[in-house]
């Protein structure tokens, strides 16, 4: 059977092949490829999908504005609220005026400028906490999910201990205990990260376990891939999507949590500016002068909303079942 010359195996073979590929090849190399110059992967598909979602575009614009606001607040206001000389006690709780759009707060400082400068800390804390939880929780989840066995059992039980701690209460405890250590706003980041990493851990672990039992992981092993190569080269890329989604949604939550902690007096401390702190300061005279409370509260809501909307859009785009 093997000795007989197959009458040019290439001839009949390639001929019969063409119909086999025909139904698949053209759509894949057709319209979409020409437009984007790239083949359709999970990520390019998701991007393609996201660009058509008004919710995504809207939240992206909002987040872009907020980011610019936190890096270059002076673009939005000429007043530097960190400079005490811009405050004037005699004008405390003054309503909106030409130079002071949002009016003045209890200490006579400009509410608009303080709100703008407050974005920086909120975003910084939100983004840092998200990165830390995604990296720490993600990495541990990846290891636990890949290794399984005792590693998995021990780390899963540890996360359950953390899950049992009420978020705000735990954060209150941590920030109140370490507030004098000179960590500044980073104490908030640490407190939130310590309590929030188990969620990323669980999601990554679950996604890795799903990916681990798939044939391509066994195939990778059979083709000589090392343990670390399988972990980072095969499992991570297949398991990272849900972590990205949850992290984006969580980012909004962290910003809200920071505001809550600052409001309670254990988060960001004066003279640093934070929306939560501004809300707390304005609370006592809210009935006389509502604006110093309303403006930071509105900014806070919009920011949290923007990130949650972005997370929702990303989730929809990455989850083909929801399409």
């Amino acid at each position: 059977m093997s000795d007989t010359p197959q009458a040019g195996p290439a001839g009949p073979d390639t001929q019969t092949l063409t119909p086999e590929t025909a139904p698949v090849a053209p759509p894949s190399r057709g319209r979409r490829r020409k437009k984007e110059g790239k083949p359709a992967s999970l990520w390019t598909d998701a991007w393609h999908d996201l660009r058509r979602r008004p919710m995504f575009i809207f939240s992206l614009v909002l987040i872009a504005i907020l980011l610019i606001m936190s890096f270059w607040p002076s673009l939005f206001t000429s007043i530097n609220p960190l400079d005490a000389r811009t405050c004037d006690l005699s004008t405390a709780r003054q309503g909106p005026s030409a130079g002071h759009l949002f009016g003045r707060d209890n200490l006579g400082c400009d509410v608009y400028a303080r709100t703008i400068y407050g974005a920086g800390n909120s975003i910084l804390i939100g983004v840092s906490t998200t990165i830390i939880t995604a990296v720490v929780g993600g990495l541990l989840g990846l290891i636990a999910g890949t290794r399984g066995g005792l590693t998995d059992t021990v780390s899963s039980r540890v996360t359950e201990v953390f899950f049992a701690i009420p978020q705000i209460l735990g954060a209150l405890l941590i920030t109140a205990t370490f507030r004098d250590k000179g960590l500044g706003i980073w104490i908030v980041v640490i407190a939130l990260s310590v309590l929030a990493w188990p969620m990323t851990f669980r999601i990554m672990r679950a996604a890795v376990i799903t990916a681990r039992s798939q044939d391509f992981v066994i195939a990778a092993r059979a083709l000589g891939a090392s343990q670390s190569r399988i972990m980072f080269g095969h499992l991570l890329p297949n398991a990272i999507a849900p972590v990205i989604v949850v992290s984006t949604i969580n980012l909004g939550g962290f910003i809200a949590a920071e505001a809550a902690l600052s409001f309670l007096g254990v988060g960001v401390q004066s003279p640093d500016i934070s929306w939560g702190l501004m809300i707390a300061d304005a609370r006592s005279r809210f009935l006389e002068a509502p604006l110093p409370l309303v403006f930071p509260a509105v900014f806070l809501s919009i920011t949290v909303l923007a990130f949650i909307m972005m997370g929702d859009a990303v989730r929809d785009a990455l989850d083909p079942k929801l399409r």
Binding site: A10, T16, T21, P39, S41, A219, R221, S226
Partner: protein, 345 residues
Amino acid sequence: MSKTSLRTSPAEGGLGDEPLLAVEDLHVEFVTRAGIVRAVNGVSYSLNPGETLAVLGESGSGKSVTAQAIMGILDMPPARIPKGEIRFRGTDLLKLSDEARTQVRGQRISMIFQDALSALNPVFTVGWQISEMFRVHRGMNKRDAMAKAVELMDRVRIPAAKQRVNDYPHQFSGGMRQRIMIAMSIALDPEVLIADEPTTALDVTVQAQIMELLAELQRESNMGLILITHDLGVVADVADKIAVMYAGRIVENAPVYDIYRAPAHPYTKGLLESIPRVDQKGQELYAIKGLPPNLLDMPTGCAFHPRCPYRQDNCVTDAPPLYGISGARNSACHYWREVLDGDPR
């Protein structure tokens, strides 16, 4: 030490009497809650360069587990190998360190899987996945590795390889995906290729193309091919010899021609008779009665006795050894002479 000896020996080519790959009295068991499942009970087979061994058997007969044991991709635990040897060019793979074992996998012994879609990573392009073999194992840079990937895709006859190298697995048809899987597995010129039901998930015309491709690649590189299948039709064309497995054991072992001419084990005979034939159109198709044994609760004596038309009293009590019939032929049946001669029914 073992690693270096493993590396240098093929260059000499001096194998002596030692086959390329020899599985010797291999036992594999799985520890489960319900008890110990003996999936492989003393399997032995050997493979020479350029030779094709077909391992035949029903689902659960242990053919895939044997292959996974050779590759070293069984999850241990729950699996364990209490006994046996897997010698590759004289070196027992089971005694190698994990690191040395990884060196063998993919480079010296490689494997292709039944369902190529799930065996390919969905998030990377096929070119990336094929070229990964060269980047990781050969230290090539991205561009050279990609060029090699295109070359390989051409070699496994993927039309317009250059344009398709950046496509994702889901953009290929079943047959094309299996070709990509084959390209990956032969990327590093392995000496042994294990194909675990490579055509089961494909339709018949594509099956033939894939088998032809495998046979051709084998002719070019003189590698040994272990073809795991339950499809007797696939086997007849390409295999040199056949090992039939039942309940974790080899029940018959013979050159392909002998088996098709006259099987020497009632199970093999049953398998051959259950192939539909045109001249029997309209008649009821023969089927082996009963079900494969529960590996947790194996029948006494010969594992096949509850289903065997040739059964005698001693089959229930005495497990048959592999009787030598002639040269390379063996049968694990006390009554192989009767089976060879003909029909008791």
